[in-house]
């Protein structure tokens, strides 16, 4: 945790105090966080930061910062990772991954290389595959069910400390 604090501090040395015993209320804005080397190349960096921030705007206090890294670490349990992954992919934060969310995810993943009809095809297929309760969008239960069977899920959510 001390290393994390060091990282947090070096992002904005004049704002972050070294001493946390008095629990100060300091938040770092999103712009600074998404420039960290671990997150820079990630297409979902804004979503990641937004989903861990308490005020939903993207500013992270130190607690949020620690939360983020602990979930992304190797030690976090699978269920916790699944919960946060769901939050990341839910762009409009309505607790469902609907077709628009899927389209945005796909565009971020392929950097908009696919044509419109290819995108529609893929989104339809995803909903067809994973939607168990038939409401046309993915609830958390659907997402959890699908992710638990995936062989690759844990591999890509590791983080070096």
């Amino acid at each position: 945790v001390y290393r994390l604090h060091g990282r947090y501090h070096e992002m904005a040395p004049n704002v972050v105090p070294m001493d946390y015993t008095r629990d100060p209320d300091v938040k770092l804005p999103m712009q600074l966080i998404i420039n960290m080397p671990e997150l820079k190349e990630n297409p979902f960096k804004e979503r990641i930061v937004e989903s861990f921030s308490e005020d939903g705007e993207g500013s992270l206090s130190f607690n949020d910062f620690v939360d983020m890294f602990s979930v992304l670490s190797e030690m976090a349990p699978r269920e916790l990772k699944a919960i946060y992954a769901f939050k990341i992919y839910d762009f409009n934060t309505d607790n469902f991954i609907c077709k628009a969310d899927l389209e945005k995810t796909l565009n971020k993943l392929t950097r908009e290389e696919l044509t419109a009809e290819e995108i529609t095809l893929v989104c339809e297929k995803v909903i067809e595959e994973a939607d168990m309760d038939g409401d046309g969008k993915l609830g958390f239960a659907d997402f959890e069910n699908m992710i638990s069977k995936a062989p690759d899920f844990l591999r890509y959510y590791f983080k070096k400390q």
């Binding site: 190349e41 949020d64 995936a150």
Partner: protein, 598 residues
Amino acid sequence: SISREAQLFVEKFEGALGKGKGKKFYAYKVMMTKKWMKFQRDFENFKTACIPWEMKIKEIESHFGSSVASYFIFLRWMYGINMILFGLTFGLVMVPEALMGKPYGSLPRKTVPRAEEATAMNFATLWDFSGFAQYSVLFYGYYNNQRTIGWLKFRMPLSYFLVGVGSIGYSFMIVIRTMAKNANDDGGGDDTSFNFSWKMFTSWDYLIGNPETADNKFASITTSFKEAIVEEQESRKEENIHLTRFLRVLANFLALCTLAGSGYLIFFVVRRSQKFALEGLENYGWWERNEVNTVMSLLGMFCPTLFDVISSLENYHPRIALRWQLGRIFALFLGNLYTFIIALMDEINLKARYLLPFTLEEEKIVKYNMTIWEASLYNGTIPENSTAPPIQVDPADVPRGPCWETMVGQEFVRLTVSDMMTTYITILIGDFLRAVFVRFFNYCWCWDLEYGFPSYSEFDISGNVLGLIFNQGMIWMGSFYAPCLPAINVFRLHTSMYLQCWAVMCCNVPQERVFKASRSNNFYMAMLLFILFLSTLPAVYTIVSIPPSFDCGPFSGKTRMFEVISETLEHDFPSWFGKVFGYASNPGLILPFILLMV
């Protein structure tokens, strides 16, 4: 509240470090686990880095799809096989002869004849593999038939024979073993119940921090989606069965017509060239002399394009269309190869038909000539039938007998070299110059060059795979007669890999419909096995039934090449061993043994 849970979790973790008994041991255990996992990851990275060209192939795979990458993986596998063949021929045949055999110039078979000496060092002669290149360890004719050479008593002829047979045996073994291994993998099958969802949510690697790696990852994700989309579209296609069937029958009919036409054309051209040969080649210009080669190359260039056009009638899944394409081009090249072999065999037969019944006669004639010639050196000063002191004659002046094995070896080497040159020039002109032209002339041209004709070229998988397979067939056929062939091929594959990787990334564009390669490479392996079988037939035939030249090579003086084995058994092994081997070599025992192994 979730973040509260997470906080508690972190505190608990910290607490295990901070309080309780055995905290030091726990900390130590945790540290060791972390170090071990890091070590494992680093080792995996190291192992991957050791595989040659792995990064290049992964890059190509992410931009062009797994089918194009499968060609390069196949190329790399062939390179491995050729390295082993090269090791065998180089280490056990060429090096011992170079180090321990009689040096150049000591024997007639090792020296350039006086008549050719003037041109022996010219570049043109060397490029054609005559002159000094012909009379060196590179070819069959150089090797002496002495039973053992050097202070190690290295059995040269035996080694030559065993290396030849062993290379073929090794090739068979490894191709069959790879097929068996691939067949096992194939049975796994993939769980496609959440195919698209997994691609969407789990393909991004959160550990990527490097922009170039990120680029490759984006490209690979896009390609993977495109492949999955093609699969999906194919499975959704509705077919008008009757129309499709009719079109497919029509397409096959057209393909058969093309094959028949090309076969007849080759037959016609070969007949003409035999007629030219009988009348003497000096009367004709360049075209007549090289007619067969040029016609074969032209057919090889244009017929596959024709097959491509025909296959657009058929409307198959791209993977299946690729197989049909491969099959048809395979049949085309097989026809070419068959005709080439007939031509070569004809040449040998021509000489053999006139020479074989007379070989013994010719031997006598040449030997008689040699005695007369020696006698002429004495100028008749010494009466016949007396032992004269041996005169030192320069080996270059001694008359030679014919050496068909070296001639055959030379043909194969020339073919390989010209094939290599053709491939490289085609890549440079067909892909690179075309790309340069399209890129730079697009500004001042009437129509859009990049979208219309000619645009950038796609990577031709079928042509390249077949080229590789047939090239390997040549090597297998010729390496018995020219031990330098595997070395040349290793060089060729090495440069080919770099050249083609560069050409693909720089001048080609991915295909319209990127499709996933079949799980195993068994289709390629099956063709390779077939070619291996075909190419070893001529060599085996010559070993078993044609007597070797009497004047050159490690088997000169014997009636059949495989006699070297029985000779070794007689001389080098104790007598009881010979008896045991005699019983064991009973075909009744050998056949079941071989069947068991397979």
